[in-house]
């Protein structure tokens, strides 16, 4: 009888869980070490893992045989370490004093660039790496058949862990690293060279990632983008364990390894969702992870406040409505001059702009970086898609309900998320997002699983007494989306310029001070979260109407990155910035994709340059200049006093 208690079955499963845990630990330990000392959550860590695997591939293809295999195993970590050092000294070093969003974004840009460079050098196809003959076969252990290579991995990983322990607890450099992660300034005053140590730690983290890639390469395959799959799992591991904590990474790896293995057997439909469910559960109960400590919140004086004059604030805000008339008229007459392709392109932009503007109510206005915004987009899109395909609901009621469902989803998710801050907030929203993605992806009976929903009928909209409005054509859809998204954006504009919006800004700037004005900070953050989620859901609903088909990809975390990128491109502390970012991103995309397949490389370069040279974004830059001009001309002063009640 084969059951759970069958010893051979158990052996095979335990070893497979351990193998997975081993890979996870090798990558996560470097990730958490870097976070502990540099305070940077390195998105590019997965890319370094991938590079390790490619190094392995390349060296073994040059030098064949077992000698080549072990040479590659030694070369790969060193090669990756070298690349890590170059990245740290050339790029990361310049942004340590920036806010954490820029650090995340810079490493994200590196992911895009490294992935595409790998594609250029090695091609897009999956590469498998040959193992030497003596590691090819399998052995029998307690009646179960286990690949020899798995045994190697399961033996090597604990060896590395022991070595790590030795390095950190028994060598002077290790002790210095631990000392620095708890008090940088004191370490500095004791004669420790911070700059050199940061480079060393980043390179060392890269060694671990590179070794992980070299070891995993022959067992798995390697392809451009493999790092992106790995990094999210590793985020889960280090966040569950506690950011910056090595034992946390170890325990987290074992937990995830076990959970995924058990999940595949017991609950195959939802295996992917389980790890996010675990992450949500851990963060809700222990916001800093199992072994983590609360992160010190940087004092405002330590932050880089280079954006002091980017916003044309409500005091400065122009009251000349005709300025708004120009773009509105242009958009209204646009279809008369442009073909269907451009009408469709602009409709896409409207949807993306609505999503980005809604998202920025959280990031730019309230100061919360959500990394799970695609979840609400998905909830809205699926609400519309399901209602229209499975019921006879009308278009407008379906769109209305998408507002409702995404509001409900955002209320529940927001309730848990707003209790956290900074990177932990971002990670919890990511976990919730991926959880919803997993549900949409696997629940064939309801959501259509990975097939999504095709052929969504777009019904005519009854206009009271005026007949039916058909929005089936590209042009009428253009106008429909323009009006709905336009109204929603106008609403968000109003919210942002209201006392409520001013309160959110105050919370972003200084939460403690805000609470000392009698403001219930958490309640306001939650409300902002719900509003942002609701309007993101509306954007999703519009998306379902215009595309007429949806798939779970729209909920994947990479989609959550879109509004972040748009916001940063356009200008984080401005209202129109995210919309401008949507234009830039979508237009660039549609042209560059036609011209080269390396769109990610171009995007990565654009992001890199933005973070380094123009962190305020396009509109932030324009506003700064405009504000200077307005201040100099004295116009603001005249305007304000004309607004005063007594004058």
């Amino acid at each position: 009888m084969t059951g759970f208690l069958d010893i051979s079955f158990l052996t095979v499963q335990v070893l497979s869980a351990l193998r997975l845990a081993a890979f996870l630990f090798l990558i996560s330990s470097g990730l958490t070490l870097i976070f502990g000392v540099l305070n940077i959550l390195n998105f590019a860590h997965g890319a370094l893992y991938m590079l390790g695997a490619y190094f392995m591939f390349w060296v073994t293809s040059q030098v064949t045989g077992p000698g080549g295999f072990f040479l590659a195993m030694a070369m790969a970590p060193l090669g990756v370490a070298l690349i890590g050092m170059i990245l740290e000294m050339g790029l990361l070093r310049r942004i340590y004093i920036q806010e954490e969003i820029y650090q995340l974004l810079l490493t994200y840009a590196l992911v895009l660039i490294i992935d595409d460079l790998a594609k250029i050098v090695f091609g897009a196809e999956y590469k498998s790496i040959p193992k030497p003959a003596f590691l090819e076969g399998a052995i029998t252990l307690f009646g179960g058949t286990v690949p020899t290579y798995t045994i190697l991995v399961v033996v090597i990983a604990p060896t590395v862990a022991a070595l790590l322990w030795y390095l950190l607890y028994r060598t002077k450099t290790g002790k210095v690293i631990r000392a620095t992660s708890s008090d940088r300034e004191m370490a500095d005053a004791l004669g420790i060279n911070m700059k050199a140590l940061f480079t060393l730690v980043f390179a060392f983290g890269a060694v671990l990632a590179g070794f992980g890639g070299a070891l995993a390469g022959p067992a798995r395959t390697v392809f451009p983008g493999v790092g992106t799959e790995v990094i999210i799992e590793c985020f889960v591991v280090v966040v569950i364990g506690g950011l910056g904590n090595l034992w946390g990474a170890l325990v987290g790896s074992l937990l995830i390894g076990a959970l995924e293995t058990v999940g595949i057997i017991v609950f195959p439909e939802f295996e992917m969702g389980l790890i996010y469910l675990l992450m949500v559960a851990v963060l809700v109960v222990r916001p800093w992870g199992l072994f983590g400590k609360p992160l010190k919140i940087k004092a405002l004086s330590e932050k880089n406040l280079s954006f002091e004059s980017q916003e044309i604030s409500p005091v400065h805000f122009s009251s000349r409505p005709w300025l708004w008339v120009i773009p509105v008229v242009l958009l209204l007459i646009f279809p008369a001059f442009a073909g269907r392709f451009y009408q469709y392109l602009l409709t896409q932009i409207f949807v993306a702009a609505l999503m980005a503007v809604a998202f920025n109510l959280l990031l730019g206005t309230t100061g919360l970086l959500s990394f799970g915004q695609a979840a609400f987009f998905g909830v809205g899109a699926y609400t519309v898609g399901l209602l229209l395909t499975k019921t006879g609901t009308g278009t407008m009621p379906a769109l209305g309900l998408s507002l409702f469902t995404s509001a409900v989803a955002a209320s529940v998710i927001g309730f848990f998320c707003v209790r956290l801050t900074g990177v932990h907030f971002a990670m919890l929203t990511l976990a919730f997002g991926q959880l919803i993605f997993a549900i949409a992806f696997k629940w064939y009976g309801f959501t259509g699983g990975d097939n999504g929903i095709q052929g969504i009928p777009v019904r005519e909209i009854p206009l009271a007494g005026l007949g039916l409005l058909d929005i089936g054509s590209t042009k009428s859809m253009y106008y429909f989306v323009l009006v709905v998204a336009g109204l929603a954006v106008a609403f968000l504009r109003r919210v942002r310029s209201s006392p409520f919006g001013a309160t959110l800004k105050a919370i972003r700037e200084n939460g403690q001070r805000a609470s000392y004005l009698g403001i219930n900070v958490t309640l306001y953050q939650w409300t902002a979260f719900v509003i942002a989620g609701t309007f993101t859901g509306l954007a999703g609903g519009l998306f379902a109407l215009m595309e007429r088909s949806i798939s779970p990809e729209i909920i994947h975390w990479t989609k959550s990155a879109d509004p972040v990128l748009m916001t940063i491109i356009g200008g984080i502390y401005t209202f129109v910035g995210p919309a401008v970012g949507a234009v830039v991103l979508i237009v660039l995309n549609s042209y560059i994709v036609a011209w080269t397949e390396y769109w990610a490389l171009v995007l990565g370069m654009v992001l890199l340059l933005l973070v380094l040279l123009l962190p305020g974004g396009v509109i932030g830059f324009v506003n700064e200049k405009a504000r200077d001009y307005l201040t100099r001309s004295g116009w603001i002063r005249r305007w304000l006093f004309s607004k005063s009640a007594t004058s």
């Binding site: 002790k175 631990r178 008090d183 300034e185 500095d188 005053a189 004791l190 004669g191």
Partner: protein, 235 residues
């Protein structure tokens, strides 16, 4: 020539001007105290010397070399040891590890400080060798931070309010230790608001108030100067 010389140092925190033209000098082998109430600028003076909050104008000269503008770790390697007032020992490291990470300049020193040597000065630390920094009492933490800084083999030790918050018996013990540290050839600049503690260990003193030096002279003279005491030290 003086070991340490501050010439018209002006230091800011962000936009707030904290030190106004602070000048002082410390000769080799001296114990000099910097007296003043809290908020007077003592800690900022120390942070300016060690380079954690570098001065905006003015110069800090150490052993004839200009050190203002250098980064903290370089200044430490030149032989300036800093013991901050909030006793920041590394909480996740054991007592011994706290000492080990600081080892520096052994070759530049004729009889360098070793773990054993600082244990003989602070026997209590040896007893607690395996405890984590976070498990120590306030007095023990104070001893550990002093001991840790000694491991960098400084020629000049900056001690920021070591007696703060300690019981009188421990304060007396601390005074003896400073005298022994001086006997080892270490020059000490001591920031304090406890005048009697300074009287026990220091030769000269500066009184600082609202970021500028108000008085300079022998501690024994200061003890008798009721006016200065009333105005800048007592309430």
């Amino acid at each position: 020539m003086a070991l340490l010389e501050l010439a018209s140092v002006n230091t800011f925190y962000g936009r707030s001007h904290i030190l106004f033209d602070v000048s002082l000098s410390v000769g080799k082998g001296e114990v000099v105290s910097l007296l003043g109430r809290n908020g007077a600028g003592k800690s900022t003076t120390f942070r300016s010397i060690i380079g954690l909050t570098p001065p905006q104008t003015g110069e800090v000269i150490f052993k004839g070399e200009r050190i203002s503008g250098m980064r903290a770790f370089r200044i430490c390697r030149k032989g300036v040891g800093f013991v901050p007032e909030d006793r920041r020992c590394f909480p996740d490291l054991t007592v011994r590890e706290n000492l080990e990470v600081a080892v520096r300049r052994e070759k530049q020193t004729s009889s360098p400080w070793t773990v054993e040597k600082v244990y003989s000065l602070f026997p209590r630390l040896q007893e607690r060798e395996k405890n984590l920094g976070s498990q120590l009492s306030g007095g023990e933490q104070q001893m550990l931070t002093i001991a840790r800084t000694l491991m960098t083999n400084p020629d000049l030790l900056l001690l920021d309010e070591p007696s703060e918050g300690l019981a009188p018996m421990i304060v007396a013990l601390l005074a003896d230790m400073i005298i022994r540290i001086r006997a080892e050839g270490v020059t000490v600049l001591l920031a304090e608001q406890n005048l009697h503690f300074c009287a026990k260990v220091a030769d000269r003193g500066y009184v600082i108030d609202k970021g500028s030096v108000k008085y300079e002279g022998k501690i024994s003279d200061l003890l008798g100067n009721e006016e200065i005491k009333e105005k800048y030290l007592a309430v």
